[in-house]
Amino acid sequence: MTVTQSKKLAPIERDAENSGALMHTEIMSLNVGPQHPSTHGVLRLVVDMDGEYVIKVTPHMGYLHTGFEKTFENRTYQQGVTYAPRTDYLHCFGHELAYVLGVEKLLQAEVPERATIVRVILHELGRIHSHLVFVGTGMLDLGALTPFFYAFREKEALQDLFESVCGYRMNQGYFRVGGLSRDIPEDWPARVSVFLEQFEKGVTEYENLFAKNPIFLDRATGVGVIPRDVALDLGLTGPNLRASGVALDHRKANPYCGYENYQFDVPVSTAGDSLARFQLRLMEFRESAKIVRQALKMLKPGPVKDPNRKISLPPRHELETSMEAVIHHFKLVTEGFHPPVGEVYVPVESARGEVGYYIVSDGGSMPYRVKIRAPSFVNLQALEYACVGSQFADLITILATIDPVLGDVDR
């Protein structure tokens, strides 16, 4: 299963033939991280190297492990929305959506159309946000400082949009079981349109500025090739899998939130190298922008919460006149709702791949067990395969294009 690039392994074999008679050689273990800018968080890699060539990579994870799954078991379902976005802090809405959709499947809650469309908009803006960080920091790892500032210019504008809907620039926790925590501001759709215009100009800028940069192309082409069968064997999902030629996108394959109503393409490449992984994400920028534009057109006024009082809090004004509303409010805040017994799983396509929450309910108002299917955790396994035989500088490229988020790896 190991990806060996015979061309690059040649020096090792040659040295073996010369049997070190002239020079003493040995395998050197190099420690990378956990505090290293190219590891995008706190990942520690122990790299066994023969000269400049990597022969083995051993990742050590867990520095960010905070036991979210255990925390979920001791909080009510609605409180769990706080923890879901903190796992993947770059595409928070992906995790939020997966969790909320799972609980809604358990409850069979009815989400109003407006809430669903706002979810789609935020889900796609979150994907853009995550890919912007990918482009900025990924290029930074390769020594290009400029893209970082270009990408973060758009990222800041996006975070302003997130802040104006829910008050948080990151780790939003804006979705609720049954809808949204509150309605979007009136001028928000217009501001998203303005952002999209600016953003699409920005994407053209990126493509001209660095996607065709010869130095970048030289460092990314043919580096860290993951063939199709290896990618499937390793359980890769998301852009990493699509770069290896498998057109799996849950927005198309298992549509949620009405994704079947949107026209968009899923870019797929068969090259499987770092360049393909980079280019696919650049293409996804435009596809996400396309979806957001369509969603903005569909947006109509309406409720943003399931009207079922056993799930959603009653409106504030009712608390002054209705005893039932007070009782519902009290029960929901102190105890929460009791979903029926069952086990559910809803896959969602996040910026990194398939996110799903396997939720086990025992009938209480806290989940019995929540298992997060974290795409970064599984994708990170590709590092051990893709790096073997490549140079150390390529390891940084490969790690950057696999794009793990360490919060998602460690949970």
Partner: protein, 259 residues
Amino acid sequence: MTGGGNDGSGGSGNTEKLTGRNASMQSSQSQPVRPVAEVRPVPVDDPTVGRHSLAAQGLNPTDPRDVKPLMAALGLTEDDAAEPTAIVPAEQLREVAMQLKARGFMLMDTVGIDYSAYTSPRPKRFAVLHNVYHPDDHRRLFLRVWLHDGEPLDSLYPVWKAANYLEREVYDLMGVEFVGHPDLRKVLTPDDLEGHPLRKDFPLGETPTLFREGRFLDPATFRAGLSGQQRGLTGYRGELRRGQGEDRMPPVMPEGGPK
């Protein structure tokens, strides 16, 4: 299991609790301009929730994503969970996985569940679920293996390399041993942590909330009312609140007291 509540209607089931106030609630909406509150019953303890929703809507009874024929071909029995789940005897797991791999399935996730505090009795304490998915025809199947405490399970690493980290995680957090895994080490918790945190008997290590006059709220007692194990009393007992019923208080403060 889930009924009860503050109204003290001990014998009432979930349906009654959830829908009982329907009539009075709607009649209380005196002003027609305000949106009328809608109360729908939350489906009651239906283990097949979601599974038959397609059939119930009259949609496509021969769904190409239906995995029942596949389960029949592999000779597996179906579980009553909401997602398409097959019960696999532990000794057959690797063979079943190899057949699935030959059909083009990929391993998406491995879930370990400790059922020791579950409300209804389960066959064994642990369940390991392998989430397999077909990337071309989009069938998804969960393989459920029941395990006693300490009972080892065949690793799926020889079948799918994806099982490497996934099984290490289940081993680390749930304490299930996988036979044939080449590198079964801890993956998320620190090396000096003893025990498996996602087991239900792993202590949470939290401190009680201290109020005036020495009263305190024990977090575990507070949460007991929220779990499925007890009737929902909002975790807040009237006697304790008024300083009565000392016999129901936890006998000792945890060592060191609140910080």
